[in-house]
């Protein structure tokens, strides 16, 4: 018996685990088939979901339908259009007097002062910004996997910064707060996430009444990744970005979309800018920061 200890223990352990693992494999299998069906649907002419982020109403919808009828446009082209519209709309929503004054005020600042009294909140992409770009003096609250549901429970992973958002917000009054969240939430129910996002943004503006709040669109992933992934794909990212834009419009916050400098012609993250298909390479974060400066928002 002594000689077969492990054999016996292993068999017991194995038999205990077996049903769970088979179940897991079964779920994975089912999920893969589902993805396959979804993709097949998405490749068809009209997508049922595209209406969700069509807030701009009649015109865009019509145009899109025309497009779809004309050449059976894929999800990708829709997404591209959407992004273009996003930027247009952003400029429009920035028109109101308040915002203009703000912008004028910004312009007077020296480049190195631009990010003073600024707070960035975000996930691993914002972490990259903190680590690889010069955002002189800005406070950053970010962590890999940061999401709207755990804003106050997750710790800050950025070097030399306060660990909890609560303390960071209590510490001082910021002039500007940038927020890029939404991709880690894609696994959750979309409606739930949007609701929570709105609540959290309103709470932020309540806690920081003087701060100008800038909601950032989430960065795209590459086309290849997008096609492979049932959850973290550009269609879902564009949808949540659309929702974020709506929230911004509704409450008069600013909205910016950095995808315009990193997208390729298909409206996905340019594969040359990334290795893992999700994050831009270290050397590109400075472009992102400069882009914010140049746009003066």
């Amino acid at each position: 018996m002594r000689k077969y200890h492990y054999l016996v223990l292993f068999m017991i352990g194995f038999l205990v685990l077996w049903p769970f693992m088979l179940h897991k494999l079964y779920i994975e299998q089912a999920k893969n088939t589902e993805t396959f069906v979804e993709q097949a649907q998405a490749e068809g002419a009209a997508e049922p979901e595209s209406g969700v982020y069509d807030v701009s109403g009649g015109e865009a919808q019509e145009e899109e339908n025309k497009e779809a009828a004309k050449e059976g446009s894929s999800g990708q082209t829709d997404a591209e259009q959407e992004t273009e519209e996003d930027t247009d709309l952003t400029e429009e929503t920035e028109e109101p007097e308040e915002a203009q004054e703000d912008e004028e005020a910004e312009k007077e600042l020296e480049p190195e002062e631009f990010f003073q009294d600024t707070l960035f909140i975000g996930d691993s992409r914002t972490m990259g910004l903190a680590e690889y770009a010069d955002i002189g003096g800005a406070v950053v609250f970010a962590n890999t996997g940061m999401n709207i549901y755990r804003l106050y429970s997750l710790k800050n992973a950025v070097h030399d910064q306060e660990p909890y958002l609560e303390d960071i917000l209590a510490e001082k009054q910021y002039r500007k707060i940038y927020l890029m969240l939404g991709i880690n939430e894609l696994g959750y129910d979309a409606e739930q996430t949007v609701k929570r996002y709105e609540e959290e943004v309103l709470k932020l503006s309540e806690l920081q009444p003087e701060a100008k709040i800038v909601l950032e669109a989430n960065l795209h992933v590459t086309k290849e990744r997008s096609e492979r992934d049932a959850i973290f794909n550009n269609e879902n990212i564009d949808r949540i970005n659309g929702n974020i834009r709506q929230i911004a419009e509704k409450h008069g916050f600013s909205y910016i979309d950095v995808n315009e400098i990193f997208d390729d012609e298909t409206g996905a993250l340019n594969p040359e800018c990334t290795h893992d298909e999700v994050h831009v390479l270290g050397k590109y974060y400075q472009q992102w920061a400069d882009w914010i400066r140049e746009n003066g928002i």
Partner: protein, 469 residues
């Protein structure tokens, strides 16, 4: 299908073993052949051509060996006993043709990628080509008898534990056991122990350390600091070792479960004192193949110093090319040739005399040689080397660097790196061999198995279990 996947561990393996143990010997061999083809089928996503390719390899080489035997017999009858030891013309022709076929296909698939896009290498072709050619050459050299049963040869070539990543088993090593093997509880017990140890190395060490190397790719070589560059290449060195070593251990363990004994593929290579020694302890069955079928037939060291260095050069360039169709593998082979030549010229005596010096020398050379191996793009390789040795060229070394990066990543991966370094020393194997029949060792192994399964379970795409961005 890799060994460290839930599909293999909880679907293929239990079903396979269940049937396998119930069958009589002849049935076992047939089932092993068929089961291995199914295993292979999963690995190549049921690409029918690749499946045909491996079956053709079995059939053609089976016939080639039989053909050689036939020629030999005819020759003996015609010429009488005095020519018995010599190879006839027919044997030579058959050997040449079949070697051309085997290596031709290997070359085609490895290097067609240079010219045509979208050619994917059939998994394991580098391994099974080497294995089957070793059989042919051994038959030709009369070191082994030609197999009379195509099923047995098929089982030898496709045997799933060693099919896709070695060890490269010689036919003579499994010859007896293909005919007669006893499967004992002790054997299975040991097999499971080896398998668990290998699984632990692969999943708990290699995969975790691989993340650091992956993180460095994500940042981009231009934006890492010199300390992080060294940390990264250290992590890569440990990853490639535990990945490959773990896989080989799992293969040995699975072999024992099936009633076979496979040769060891690794013997604590990172404890070597010289590169020469390293390559006798790293991927042993590959080194053995090159020695037996290239180096020695070319004359080895028996034809003078100049010829010996030439033979070494050939062996190392081929070793480089075997690893991949990319210029950096040639450069890597050349680098190893240079290092080993310098050692042969006298350095090795110094290194073996002062062991500390030998260890330091290897502690430096191992990661550096892996860097040349790991980075396939020449421009990127240059960037990485400028990061490793910033004092070489000042100009190429610009770019934003996050000064806290070393600290950040050592915090995340420090424990894994330390564990990896300890496991390189052979301490784990010593402890394991000494107390492997103790209950506590069994419990420890069970914990390792559980942890590995948990990692595999968690690693599947489940957006709720962990956040990635």
């Amino acid at each position: 299908m890799v060994f460290s996947s839930l599909e293999f561990l909880f679907l293929f393996l239990p079903l396979f073993l269940l049937v396998y143990y119930l069958l009589p010997l002849r049935g076992k061999n047939i089932f092993l052949f068929l089961g291995s083809l199914v295993f292979y089928g999963f690995g190549i996503a049921w690409n029918i051509y690749y499946l045909v390719l491996i079956i053709a390899s079995v059939l053609l080489n089976f016939l080639a060996a039989k053909g050689m035997e036939h020629c030999r017999r005819k020759n003996r009858i015609r010429r009488g006993e005095e020519t018995a030891g010599k190879s006839s013309m027919g044997e030579k022709v058959i050997l040449t043709l079949s070697l051309c076929y085997n290596f031709g296909l290997l070359l085609f698939f490895k290097y067609a990628g240079f010219f045509v896009e979208n050619i994917i290498l059939p998994i394991g072709i580098s391994f099974y080509t080497f294995q089957i050619t070793s059989y042919l050459i051994d038959v030709y050299r009369r070191k082994t008898r030609p197999e009379q049963d195509v099923i047995r040869l098929g089982a030898y070539l496709t045997m799933f534990p060693q099919l896709i990543a070695g060890p490269i088993v010689n036919y003579s090593e499994v010859y007896k056991r293909l005919r007669k093997r006893k499967i004992t509880l002790t054997g299975c017990n040991h097999g499971l122990q080896y398998f668990t140890l290998g699984l632990g190395f692969k999943v708990l060490l290699a995969n975790q350390l691989g993340n650091l190397w992956e993180d460095i790719q994500t940042i981009g070589y231009e934006s890492i600091s010199t300390p992080l560059a060294w940390l990264g290449i250290l992590a890569y060195s440990l990853q490639i070792y535990f990945d490959f070593y773990g896989y080989s251990l799992m293969a040995v363990g699975l072999g024992k479960l099936l009633g076979f004994r496979f040769p060891d593929n690794f013997r604590q290579p990172y404890m070597s004192l010289s590169m020469t020694e390293f390559w006798r302890r790293w991927h042993i069955t590959l080194g053995r193949w090159f020695r037996e079928y290239v180096y020695i037939p070319f004359g080895g060291n028996r034809k003078g110093k100049v010829r010996q260095f030439f033979n070494l050069l050939i062996v190392w360039l081929l070793t480089g090319l075997w690893h991949g169709a990319n210029w950096n593998f040639l450069l890597w082979g050349l680098l190893l040739f240079l290092i080993i030549s310098v050692e042969k010229a006298g350095l090795i005596k110094v290194l073996e005399r002062w062991k500390i010096l030998g260890h330091l020398y290897m502690f430096f050379l191992i990661p550096v040689s892996w860097a040349v191996f790991a980075i396939t793009d020449p421009v990127m390789l240059q960037v990485y080397f400028l990061k490793l040795f910033p004092f070489i060229g000042g100009a190429g070394n610009q770019g934003v660097v996050f000064s806290g990066d070393f600290e950040k990543y050592i915090k995340i991966y420090g424990i894994g790196l330390a564990a990896g370094l300890v496991c390189c020393s052979g301490l784990v194997e010593k402890i394991f061999m000494k107390w492997r029949n103790k209950l506590w060792m069994s419990l420890l192994l069970l914990i390792i198995f559980g942890a590995a399964v948990w990692c595999m379970y968690r690693g599947l795409n489940d957006p709720f279990l962990y956040y990635r961005f």
